[in-house]
C-alpha cells in the first residue's frame, strides 16, 4: 500500500481489499473480550478519571515538572537536550553519532521517531538505524509506515512477512509465524551487539526521579538500553509524570487497554548512567516538543495530550476496521491520529480524515485517558470548514434553507409531493413508503444501489399534531416533544406512538411549533454558524412552552440539546441560562419512561409474544448512557430480546456522512450490522433512533425484506393496543 497521494483513491483501494478489513474485524472482536477480562474486578471509570486528572496536573505544571525532570536526570548523569522540533532532535543524534564515529543505531519502538522520520534522516549521514521491534522491523523492510500504534504491521499477512524476510536473509523462509519470529530473534540479536548506540522511546519521564519508564513485550528495549555503550532516549515532552506512583497507575491501564494484558512482559525503569561493560554508560535524553506546546495551548484540543498511546481508539473504530490505519490516519492513526496529524503535520494533511470519522463515540467509550476524541475531531472539522469550505450542496442546504424554518419546512412539504415513491413489497400497514429512486439527482449515482432511501412522509408530524386528540384529566406531567427532523418528516408515526404511550401513562404532550432542526447535520459538517442559529430557535420555543420535561426520540437530538446547545450558547448571555435549563430537563423518551415513570412496571402484563433484537444507537448508549432502559421496556411487554453480536456497534448512518462524504465506508459498516441482525434469526430489530432507522430500513430492506426495523416506542404503542383488544 502506497502513502496517500489521493485520499479518495486510497479509500476505494482499501474497500476493494476486504482481507485487511476482515482481519481487523476479527482482531476488534477478540480485543473486546480480552479487554473485558483484563478489567474484571476493577472500576475502569474510576481508573480513567484518575488518569485524566493525573495528566491534567501534568499539563498545568508542565514547566516545573520538566525542570524537575531535567535536574534529576542530570544529577544521575544523563545529558538532556530540549528539541523544539523533530529536526533539532534528529540533528542532535546525528551530531552525537558522528562524534562517536557510530555507524549503527539499534532502535526499539519510538513513535516520535516515526514523526521525525528519524531513520531516513540518519541514513542521509551514512548511519544505519536498525529497528528491532518485530513489527517496526517488518515495516522498515517493506518501506512503509505503521498502520497501528501498538501493532505497527497489523495490516500485513505472514506470507508478505516471509517474502520480506527471505529477501533480506537471502534464503527462503516458510510463512510460519514461529519460524519468522525465530528468524527475527537470531538476526536482530546481532544488531544489539554490533550497535554503537541504542535508542529507545519512553512511556514515562518521571519528574521526581529523572528516570524513564518503558512498557514493552518483546524485550528489545531492554537489550537496546543494555548492550550498546550509548543510550539515547527519544521522547516527547508530554510523557512527563510527577512520580513513580503516577507512572505505576498508568501501567495499570495501558496494557489492559492496549492488548488485554494485566501487564506487559517487561516494564523497565532506567535512571541515569548505569554501569556498562566495566564503565559507565553514556545516556542522552532528547526531549521533543514538535508541536506539543501549541497543542497544550489549544483549549479545545489539548486533552489529546493525555493520550498514553494504547491504540484502543483504533481497535474499536468502525472506520479504522473498514479501511485500516494507512487510510484513516497518518503517522498516528484513527481517532487520536486525526487530532495529532492536524497539530503535528498541519490541518491540510488532516482535512480528509477529520471528515472520515462517523461520530459513533466508540473511541471515547474505551479511551483510558477519558479523552472526548469525537468532540475534538468535530472541532477540527469546523476548523477545516472555516479554512477550506464545506462544498456547494451543503452550503445551500444548511445556510440558505435550514436556517429559515418556514422555507425549510415548506420545501420539505413540496418535496414530499414531488417524489414518486415505489411501494416496498412487504410494507406493513401504515409504514411509510420507501423510494428506490432518488429525487435528489445531484448525488452519487451508486447511491441507491445498496440501500433504499426513505421517502418523506405525506404529512409531517408538525402538520399532524393538532389533529391528535389527548384527553387526559389532571395529567401527572406535561412534557414538550422535541421531534427532530427524522421523526418529523420521515417517521411521524413514531411521534404519534409516543403520544399514545405517554397518554396511557397519564402524561400530556405539547409540541412547540417554533422548534427547528437540532443543528447537528450542519454542525457535523462544520457549519457552526447555522448550528448557533438553530439552537436559539429551539431554546426559545421550549422555554416559552413551560413544560416539566423535554423528550426526544432521537438520541442525536437529545445530545444536541443537552450538550451542544449549552456549548453553542455559552458565550451569549441572554441565551446561556435558558440553554442550561433546557438541557437539564431534556432526555430520551425511553429514559423518561423507565427512569421517571417506571414504565416497565406499569406496562407489564401486556402480552406481545414476539422476539426482537435490539440495536444500540451510538448516541443513545455512548452519548446518554441509555441502553438498559429500552431493553427493560421491551421485555416488560412480554417481548423476548435476543442480543445480536456487537449490538452497540455503529450502523453506518452518521447523517450526511453516509449520504455525502463517505458513502462507501458507510456501506461496509452497515453491511456488518445487517449480518449481525440476520445472524440472530429474529425478524424484528428495535432501536431508538430515526437515523438508524433510515439506515437499517434501507439496507435491511435490500438485503432481507422479511426483517422489520422499528422504533422501541412503536413496539410499546403496539403492546398497549394489543392490551386494549
Amino acid at each position: 500500500m502506497k502513502t496517500n497521494t489521493n485520499y479518495k483513491e486510497s479509500v476505494e483501494q482499501a474497500i476493494a481489499n476486504p482481507k485487511l478489513s476482515k482481519a481487523l474485524h476479527l482482531f476488534g472482536d477478540a480485543y473486546l473480550i480480552a479487554r473485558e477480562n483484563a478489567y474484571r474486578g476493577l472500576d475502569f471509570e474510576q481508573m480513567r478519571t484518575e488518569l485524566s486528572d493525573i495528566k491534567e496536573e501534568v499539563r498545568l505544571n508542565r514547566k516545573e515538572l520538566l525542570a524537575e525532570f531535567i535536574k534529576n536526570a542530570e544529577a544521575a548523569g544523563s545529558k538532556v537536550f530540549l528539541a523544539k522540533n523533530t529536526k533539532e532532535a534528529n540533528d542532535y543524534v546525528i551530531k552525537l553519532a558522528k562524534s562517536k564515529d557510530a555507524k549503527l543505531i539499534a532502535k526499539s519502538k519510538s513513535m516520535v521517531s516515526e514523526e521525525a522520520h528519524f531513520n531516513k534522516a540518519v541514513q542521509a549521514h551514512g548511519i544505519r538505524a536498525a529497528e528491532t521491534d518485530l513489527g517496526e522491523w517488518i515495516i522498515q523492510l517493506a518501506g512503509q509506515r505503521p498502520s497501528h500504534m501498538v501493532m505497527p504491521a497489523i495490516h500485513m499477512f505472514k506470507e508478505e512477512v516471509a517474502e520480506l524476510f527471505s529477501k533480506e536473509a537471502g534464503k527462503t523462509l516458510t510463512p510460519e509465524i514461529k519460524t519468522l519470529v525465530d528468524h527475527a530473534r537470531t538476526r536482530l540479536r546481532q544488531e544489539y551487539f554490533d550497535a554503537d548506540i541504542g535508542l529507545t522511546g519512553a512511556n514515562f519521564l518521571v519528574a521526581n526521579t529523572g528516570g524513564i519508564g518503558l512498557v514493552t513485550n518483546e524485550g528489545n528495549a531492554r537489550l537496546c538500553a543494555t548492550l550498546p555503550k550509548v543510550h539515547v532516549v527519544f521522547a516527547s515532552i508530554h510523557k512527563l509524570v510527577r512520580n513513580i506512583e503516577d507512572a505505576i497507575k498508568i501501567t495499570r491501564l495501558l496494557p489492559r487497554n492496549a492488548t488485554g494484558q494485566l501487564l506487559t512482559s517487561y516494564v523497565t525503569w532506567i535512571k541515569g548512567c548505569v554501569p556498562c561493560d566495566g564503565e559507565q554508560k553514556e545516556q542522552h535524553i532528547v526531549l521533543i516538543d514538535g508541536g506539543r506546546e501549541a497543542l497544550y495551548e489549544s483549549k479545545a484540543c489539548r486533552d489529546a495530550l493525555k493520550c498514553i498511546q494504547c491504540g484502543a481508539c483504533a481497535n474499536v473504530c468502525p472506520v479504522y476496521q473498514t479501511v485500516g490505519g494507512h487510510v484513516f490516519g497518518s503517522i498516528y492513526i484513527s481517532a487520536i491520529g486525526v487530532i495529532l496529524t492536524a497539530f503535528y503535520e498541519g490541518l491540510d494533511k488532516a482535512k480528509d480524515i477529520t471528515r472520515a470519522c462517523i461520530g459513533c463515540r466508540s473511541c471515547v467509550a474505551v479511551c483510558p485517558s477519558k479523552i472526548d476524541l469525537e468532540e475534538i475531531i468535530l472541532h477540527l472539522r469546523n476548523e477545516v470548514t472555516k479554512e477550506y469550505g464545506m462544498g456547494v450542496i451543503k452550503n445551500v442546504a444548511f445556510k440558505a434553507v435550514m436556517k429559515n424554518r418556514g422555507l425549510f419546512h415548506s420545501m420539505v412539504r413540496a418535496a414530499s409531493k414531488l417524489q414518486r415513491p415505489v411501494t416496498h413489497k412487504n410494507r406493513k400497514e401504515g409504514e411509510p413508503r420507501i423510494i428506490r429512486h432518488l429525487p435528489l439527482h445531484f448525488l452519487d449515482r451508486d447511491f441507491t444501489e445498496w440501500r433504499d432511501l426513505p421517502s418523506i412522509a405525506p404529512k409531517s408530524f408538525r402538520d399532524q399534531f393538532d389533529t391528535i386528540p389527548q384527553t387526559l384529566f389532571n395529567p401527572d406531567y406535561k412534557v414538550g416533544f422535541f421531534v427532530g427532523c427524522g421523526a418529523d418528516f420521515v417517521y411521524p408515526e413514531v411521534g404519534v406512538s409516543l403520544i399514545k404511550v405517554l397518554n396511557s401513562l397519564n402524561v400530556e404532550v405539547v409540541f412547540p411549533k417554533g422548534q427547528n432542526c437540532c443543528g447537528i447535520p450542519a454542525l457535523y459538517s462544520g457549519d457552526t454558524e447555522t448550528g448557533l442559529d438553530l439552537a436559539k430557535q429551539s431554546v426559545e420555543a421550549f422555554t416559552e412552552a413551560e413544560v416539566d420535561y423535554v423528550l426526544s426520540i432521537c438520541p442525536t437530538c437529545t445530545m444536541a440539546v443537552k450538550r451542544d446547545f449549552v456549548d453553542r450558547l455559552a458565550d451569549h448571555p441572554q441565551w446561556a441560562a435558558k440553554a442550561r435549563e433546557l438541557s437539564a430537563k431534556t432526555m430520551d423518551a425511553s429514559a423518561f419512561l423507565e427512569n421517571v415513570l417506571g414504565a416497565s412496571q406499569k406496562l407489564a402484563s401486556t402480552t406481545t409474544d414476539q422476539s426482537v433484537t435490539y440495536h444500540d444507537s451510538c448516541h443513545l448508549k455512548r452519548g446518554s448512557n441509555v441502553y438498559k432502559e429500552p431493553r427493560a421496556l421491551l421485555k416488560s411487554t412480554g417481548i423476548t430480546v435476543k442480543e445480536m453480536k456487537n449490538s452497540d456497534r455503529c450502523c453506518g448512518f452518521g447523517g450526511t456522512y453516509s449520504f455525502l462524504s463517505h458513502p462507501q465506508i458507510s456501506k461496509q459498516i452497515t453491511a456488518d450490522k445487517v449480518s449481525a441482525i440476520e445472524a440472530t434469526g429474529v425478524k424484528t430489530v428495535a432501536m431508538d433512533c430515526p437515523g438508524c432507522m433510515i439506515m437499517l430500513k434501507g439496507a435491511v430492506g435490500k438485503a432481507n425484506e422479511s426483517i422489520r426495523c422499528v422504533h422501541t416506542i412503536e413496539l410499546l404503542a403496539e403492546a398497549i393496543d394489543n392490551n386494549k383488544k
Partner: protein
C-alpha cells in the same frame, strides 16, 4: 506464615506463561535448574547469590556456571539464574533491581531465565509496589529496575501471540522459603 498472595501469584504467573515450582530449598532449586538448563549459564554475583553460595550450589549439580564477562558468553546463553527483589501477585510479575549489568545480561540474553523467589516477598499488586519502588529510586544514583511478567512475547505477525521474541523464551519461577524477605536486596 504462608503469604496470603502466594496462591494468586502462582496462578497468574502460570497464566502468563511462566513455569512455577515450589521447592524445598536452594539445593533442590539447583537440581531443578540442572535438569532443565544445558549449556552456559549466567549467575550474577549479587549479595544474595554470594550469601547463599548460589554458584557453588549450581556447580555442584553440574550446571555450567559461566565465569568472566557475561558479554563474552555468546549471543544466546542457555540459562540465567537470579534472585528477585519482590513480586506482584495480581499480575504474576517478578521485580529485579538490575543496575548491576551482570543481572541485566543474565535476564535478557539467555533462552531460559530462572528466578528464585522467597514467597515472603510477594506483594498484592503494583500499587503495593509504589513504596519499595519509590524507596529504590531515592537519591541520584543511576538505577535500572525491571518488571518481568512471563516470557518475552510478540503478536506483531497477524496478531498471533508468539513466545520468545527478543528476551528469554522461558521464565521459571522457583519458590523457595527462607531466602530473604528484604525487598531491597536480590
Amino acid at each position: 506464615m504462608a503469604n496470603q498472595h502466594l496462591e494468586q501469584f502462582i496462578e497468574v504467573a502460570k497464566r502468563v506463561g511462566a513455569e512455577v515450582l515450589q521447592l524445598e530449598d536452594l539445593e533442590a532449586a539447583a537440581k531443578y535448574i540442572s535438569s532443565v538448563a544445558s549449556g552456559t549459564t549466567l549467575v550474577p554475583e549479587t549479595p544474595l547469590a554470594v550469601k547463599h553460595n548460589l554458584r557453588s550450589l549450581l556447580a555442584a549439580e553440574d550446571v555450567e556456571v559461566f565465569s568472566g564477562n557475561f558479554r563474552e558468553a555468546g549471543h544466546v546463553p542457555a540459562g540465567g539464574v537470579t534472585f528477585c527483589n519482590f513480586c506482584m501477585a495480581d499480575s504474576g510479575t517478578v521485580v529485579l533491581e538490575s543496575t548491576d549489568e551482570s543481572i541485566r545480561l543474565a535476564t535478557t540474553l539467555p533462552e531460559t531465565h530462572f528466578v528464585i523467589v522467597d514467597p515472603e516477598k510477594i506483594l498484592e499488586d503494583n500499587l503495593a509496589a509504589v513504596t519499595p519502588m519509590t524507596q529504590m529510586h531515592t537519591g541520584s544514583d543511576p538505577k535500572f529496575v525491571a518488571y518481568i511478567t512471563g516470557p518475552s512475547r510478540t503478536a506483531d505477525i497477524e496478531r498471533v501471540l508468539t513466545i520468545g521474541c527478543h528476551g528469554p523464551r522461558e521464565l521459571h519461577i522457583l519458590l523457595v522459603n527462607n531466602v530473604s524477605s528484604d525487598l531491597m536486596e536480590n
